[in-house]
Symmetry: C2
Subunit: 251 residues, 2 copies
Amino acid sequence: MLSKNRIKYINSLKVKKYRQLHQAFIIEGAKSVLELLESDFEIEFVLATEEFLQKYSTILTRHSVAAETATAAELESVGSFQTNDSCLAVARTKQNEFLSLQESEYVLVLDDIRDPGNFGTIIRVADWYGIRKIICSSDTTDFYNPKVIAASKGSFTRTQVFYTDLADYLANHAENRNVIGAFLGGTSIYDFPFSPKGGLIVMGNESNGIGQEVASFVTDRITIPRFGEAESLNVGIATAVMLDNLRRQLS
Amino acid sequence: MLSKNRIKYINSLKVKKYRQLHQAFIIEGAKSVLELLESDFEIEFVLATEEFLQKYSTILTRHSVAAETATAAELESVGSFQTNDSCLAVARTKQNEFLSLQESEYVLVLDDIRDPGNFGTIIRVADWYGIRKIICSSDTTDFYNPKVIAASKGSFTRTQVFYTDLADYLANHAENRNVIGAFLGGTSIYDFPFSPKGGLIVMGNESNGIGQEVASFVTDRITIPRFGEAESLNVGIATAVMLDNLRRQLS
């Protein structure tokens, strides 16, 4: 049976303040936990049903993971979601380390993305299109939020994130680089020639788009052409379409 | 103050059985209600805050809409979502009418899409890319589910939907048409030549993809190329990338 302290600890990690205090976060669900095991994250412990622990005992042993049995009901009660899943893990968060841009590399820049589901989707999409680095404004939602982790479907294990003041970052570390921003009324992405030299792709807030200060660093304003009447596209969708056009052109 | 009967009626419409019985559905939020007012849906009534009713009195009068004042708290208590919004409407559902394919037209075919959020996103994306008709398998989630309507962000007003047995539909009404299906391991969408003659684009279930019976009618298997390591893309994202490639090629 789960101890009260453990339940209390796990519950505390649903709150950003406590994730920062304990430098730890929750990973829920079999797929995410299995990807976590293959990653370089340091795992504190895995809680899982008897069945899960038996099925994956070889992997768990190979990674010397502290594993504890919990019933499906216990997992459901401590988890963030009301889906009955077979496991949950707690791992150490990583330091907020500076990310530099390599020659010919494309990175994603997020200006104040607020919705955890959107952020998780963006991480998954970036991973599909081979983008490994995401530079986030300080007010972008927390990468370690359980909803972000869940929506990323395991892709959080392959993504490096750096939270910073974007204007400062762009002013000091993006000189001579293409800074491509998604705006209404920009050049069509079908006509825009993505450079093989790489660059930064900036996606803005769900309601307000890219902020004025960040926008001043954008060198290329591009737009996804619209053929019907929807007013806008969700930011996760827009990111996917941008990256698809980028990779198609450069592949 | 809202009458108990009205509260009961609105709450009943959150359930498919009662939507079918009453042939009515709920539309929540200012943006969706305003788009509803401009559509050909028959509106039973609008419930809104004093402020909303004053702000949009001209539009409401022009459309001869029965409007009733409700407090923000009342709206929140009857709405599906815990966001305090300023209005809610109830409108008549449309008959499930057969949709035929016009020459050079592209339509979307959904095989067992289960998640209301995904379905709503697909409707919004289709609207962005100028696709007006969606043919749904009978087990695809209900178009009039409040979560579908909300996620479509008003695009439900511009979309025609027909629920049917897909195998039967494809066998009898898609002869000599391209039936393009999203599969793993198909032709890259970057190389696939979308025909100006139009066709059907089939998207499959979130977990299982396109079912075997429907798959047998697919004439072209196409794939979104992957450049990184994410295992899959969400079906809403995949639909957007497919339609973006289609429109780019044919524009």
